[in-house]
Amino acid sequence: MKTRLLDNRDFLAGLLFITIGAVGFGVALSYPFGNVQQMGPGFFPRILGAILVGFGVVTLVRGLRSGEPVQGGWGWFPLAVITASLVAFGWLMEHVGLVPSLVVLIVSSAYAGREFRWGEVAVLAVAMTLLALSIFVWGLGMPYELFAFEFGR
């Protein structure tokens, strides 16, 4: 069975390794290489980058030969929603305080699930916010403002 390249598991893995290795190697070119006696900060990353590109090529070629497809579909939707929820949480924490950030995080991440029921999510958001407050703020005394709304900071 022939697999499309975009579905070819090892081809993609190889490509990813090559990319990471090449970027690492490229960036490390600006660090002094030194020599074996006095290794510079560029020595290790360049060697590692080269090795990773090598492994990547092997993986890629093996992917072309075996044609093993990626198992199951890609979950782009949950991936995007979960990632966005985390990023939103981080940003909001620094601008509007803990409580609104938590509510946004819980509600938006719950949206990534298959079943989304407003009532349930509301209860969950309240419960989780209270849990987080009691553990982190009241229990551990972490210095978070609950509501900040200070955009100037």
């Binding site: 005394g141 210095p143 200070e150 100037g152 900071r153």
Partner: protein, 323 residues
């Protein structure tokens, strides 16, 4: 319509009053909300402990609510940057030290804050000399021996430090320059792995804060050959200073102080200065800090400046660059 107008008027009135009496109000009622004390290092380190002593005392003796906020990263840069950008209303303090205010400008080209323009120094709270120690079996017994050994084998002595561009590292480079000797710098990540190397003699000598070597010196595993303050350290009265070992004026200390963002009203700075000074006078704090190091805003600012100039020239000559 009417409602909106009256609301707008009320709002305008509030803003106006706030504008006129803001400064006065700030002093009279200060502090009327929790003060955050930014500690630019993770919980548990020396800076954190200092921060907690200060916040604890201010809270218990004055009834203020001073909350320590650890904002660690990049040797304090992240926390200092956060403090620099905070509102200068007296509700944000920061514990800053030598490396943040006097060394960072010379070694980090991308430093996001300006140590002089962005901060008002409040009070110096501690100053910690460094110790120069060797393994107890080392033939080096004094600074004179150290210099002789370095001269006999240029570049062969191994100088261990707790990290690149730390005060300890710069102190070692500074001494190289002053004594006209050459040795090889071996940086460690803190003191954990460095101490065994120095005790066993794999590294020739180690420069680090007095606290980090006291236990081993007491136990007879390390020998302290000098301290880097101008006067002998109270906890080690028998150990000579580098200055009295033939290098007058040699001084390398790590100091810690409280600073606020520039633009904080002067009366608030004065109030903070007075209160922090009282904290430092408390007997239990004095004991913990091993003597008093406190000086007020003006002298603190002068210290930042003079240390900046000293370390800038050392950094330049030794060719140290971090960012």
């Amino acid at each position: 319509m009417n409602r909106w107008a009256s609301r707008a008027a009320a709002a305008a009135a509030i803003i106006l009053t706030a504008g006129f009496s803001g400064a006065a109000l700030a002093q009279a009622g200060y502090p009327d909300k929790p003060i955050r004390l930014i500690v630019p290092f993770p919980p548990g380190g020396g800076t954190d402990i200092l921060g907690r002593i200060v916040s604890d005392k201010l809270s218990t003796t004055l009834g203020w609510k001073v909350v320590v906020e650890n904002k660690a990263g990049a040797g304090g840069t992240v926390g200092l940057d956060a403090a620099a950008k905070a509102k200068p209303d007296g509700y944000t303090l920061v514990i800053a030290q030598t490396s943040n205010l006097s060394i960072a400008p010379s070694i980090m080209s991308g430093l996001p804050y300006d140590p002089v323009k962005d901060f008002s120094p409040v009070r110096l709270i501690a100053s910690v000399p460094l110790a120069i120690v060797v393994g107890v079996n080392s033939p080096i017994k004094s600074m004179g021996d150290l210099v002789a050994a370095a001269k006999a084998n240029p570049g062969k002595l191994l100088f261990a430090s707790p990290g690149n561009a730390t005060v300890a590292h710069l102190a070692g480079e500074y001494f190289q320059k002053i004594a006209g000797v050459k040795y090889t710098h071996v940086p460690y990540k803190g003191t954990g792995q460095a101490l065994p190397d120095v005790i066993s003699g794999r590294a020739s000598f180690f420069v680090a804060s007095i606290e980090s070597a006291t236990a081993q010196v007491k136990a007879g595993q390390l020998r302290a050959i000098a301290v880097t303050s101008l006067k002998r350290a109270p906890q080690w009265p028998d150990v000579p200073t580098v200055a009295e070992s033939g290098y007058p004026g040699f001084e390398a200390i790590t100091w810690f102080g409280v600073a606020v963002p520039a633009g904080t009203p002067a009366p608030i700075i004065a109030r903070l200065d007075a209160e922090v000074s009282k904290v430092l006078d408390a007997p239990d704090v004095k004991e913990r800090l091993n003597g008093k190091a406190d000086v007020g805003p003006a002298e603190f600012a002068a210290l930042i400046k003079s240390d900046h100039d000293k370390w800038a020239s050392v950094v330049k000559e030794a060719g140290i660059k971090v960012n």
